[in-house]
């Protein structure tokens, strides 16, 4: 194994390798996968001089700790958190030089859920259908990190392009999800659609990379039963028989038989990656 690598000291609750995913294979039943907070993933890569598509780590709530084998530049974005190198504080949202053999600790999120950690050169695991992303629905890509695992890094691309605007995200006190109705809004009564836009929903603790589940008032259906399976887009608000909308995130199934009442455009999805369980959710009809 090359020296350009890191070993996992503390895996955290769920830490996965992510890039921009493997779009274009949904017709084979392959989910898109990829970083949930995509703007944060792209930013972390830019900060260390990588192409935005390089593979990085996505942590969940509790961060992770790694020992690097060679001196490496890293950057942490997404959910703000304490960052230390061999116990000494280091900046969040900026390039950090980690000496060979040092332990980089990405601490628990102070708010938000997922921090994105990029390494100069990117993570160099095997590509599956053109992507290194871990897809937790179908098991494609590398397994989530476990303690003692060793992951290779690629050769650095060169110095970072320079100053970058690093927004420091505040806590998501309310998750606002703008959506366009359809394709199956006709499966719901007017009262059901009114419930969607006026009901008090919260993020369910059962949420994951497949979908952000909600708890709240159930949407009343105009028709019962299931649809013949149909294609499901990223951002779909699928409503299973319990009447509670599920927002499909990057590891969502490519087809499904429950009606989709509306679709949240991709550009509004990043905050959903950072909304902790219990966060109030408001669905905002765009037209």
């Amino acid at each position: 194994m090359t020296d350009r690598a890191f070993s996992v000291v503390r895996a955290g609750a769920l830490t996965t390798v992510q890039d921009l995913g493997r779009p274009g294979h949904a017709h084979l039943g392959v989910p898109r996968a990829g970083a949930l907070d995509e703007p944060a993933h792209r930013l972390a890569n830019r900060l260390v001089g990588n192409p935005e598509s390089a593979a990085a780590l996505e942590t969940t709530l509790t961060g992770c700790a790694l020992r690097v084998r060679t001196a490496t530049t890293v950057a942490v974005t997404g959910a703000p958190c304490p960052v230390t190198v061999d116990g000494r504080p280091a900046p969040w949202g900026a390039p950090v030089r980690v000496p060979a053999g040092a332990v980089l600790d990405v601490g628990p999120a102070t708010h938000g859920l997922r921090s994105h950690l990029a390494f100069a050169g990117g993570i160099d695991t095997e590509r599956v259908l053109g992507s290194r992303a871990a897809d937790l629905l179908s098991g494609l890509g590398p397994d989530p990190l476990t303690e003692g695992a060793v992951l290779a890094l690629g050769a650095p691309y060169g110095p970072a392009a320079g100053a970058d605007a690093v927004p420091h995200p505040g806590p998501v006190t309310e998750l606002v999800l703008p959506f366009l109705p359809g394709p199956r809004d006709a499966w719901f009564t007017a009262a059901g659609l009114h419930t969607l836009t006026t009901g008090r929903f919260r993020v369910s603790p059962a949420s994951n990379r497949i979908g952000l589940r909600t708890v709240g008032p159930p949407l009343e259906r105009a028709r019962s039963g299931e649809l013949p399976s149909e294609g499901m887009p990223l951002g779909a608000l699928q409503v299973p028989p319990d009447g509670l909308p599920v927002l499909f995130l990057h590891d969502h199934p490519t087809t499904g038989g429950y009606p989709v009442v509306g679709v949240v455009p991709e550009r509004y999805l990043a905050p959903a990656a950072q909304a902790a369980p219990g966060t109030p959710v408001r669905f905002l009809r765009m037209r």
Partner: protein, 206 residues
């Protein structure tokens, strides 16, 4: 053909039959291969719909689509994929009872059918194969199995499927194949893509 909106960049085209879905899907692939489709990310056929996603201008494509002359499906020039099967599934007797025939007759009818991959889903490389006539459609099992072995050939509703890997499942298992349905290191990774024709060839059970 009924178009339904899907967010800012998608369209869901609903059709009246599986045959119309396959014909539209084939036409979309033809046009994509000819460079005559605007750039898009996904074309996902399903039971009665085709999802188009990642379009810059869904309305523009919709206006074009209405004017297309879509030829009916042909057998195509590529030979059917042959999948050798040992018809030894634990639900073969139940399927024989549902079909009101012997187990040998299930094997004969199933292997005499030409199937087509209508769409994929559930797991990478899992194809939903149509071809069995309506009287041979069977319900799912009342209690799904927690573990269906890889390579299981199974029936549910109008579909036949082959499990590309071990997973939970509620379909009626009639046989087993050693054919590898899904291998991401292979090109193509999925043996069964939408539109592929398929025949099952009986093998002696061990």
């Amino acid at each position: 053909m009924r178009p339904l909106p899907v967010g800012e960049h998608g369209l869901l085209i609903e059709l009246d039959s599986a045959e119309e879905v396959e014909a539209l899907h084939a036409e979309l692939l033809r046009r994509a291969a000819d460079g005559a489709l605007p750039p898009l990310r996904e074309i996902v056929p399903a039971a009665r719909t085709v999802l188009l996603d990642g379009l810059a201008d869904p309305r523009g494509l919709l206006a074009e689509l209405a004017a297309w002359d879509i030829p009916p499906l042909t057998a195509g020039d590529r030979p059917a994929v042959e999948i050798p099967v040992r018809y030894d599934g634990p639900d073969l007797a139940d399927v024989a009872a549902l079909w009101d025939c012997t187990a040998d007759e299930v094997v004969r009818r199933h292997s005499a059918t030409e199937f087509r991959v209508a769409f994929c889903g559930f797991a990478p490389g899992f194809g939903y194969l149509t071809g069995l006539p309506e009287p041979l459609h069977v319900p799912r099992r009342d209690t799904p199995r927690t573990k269906v072995p890889v390579g299981s050939v199974a029936l549910a509703g109008p579909y036949t499927g082959v499990y590309p890997r071990s997973s939970p499942g509620g379909w009626q298992l009639i046989g087993t194949t050693d054919t590898v349905l899904w291998d991401p290191r292979r090109e193509p990774a999925a043996l069964l893509a939408p539109g592929t024709r398929v025949r099952f060839v009986p093998q002696e059970t061990a």
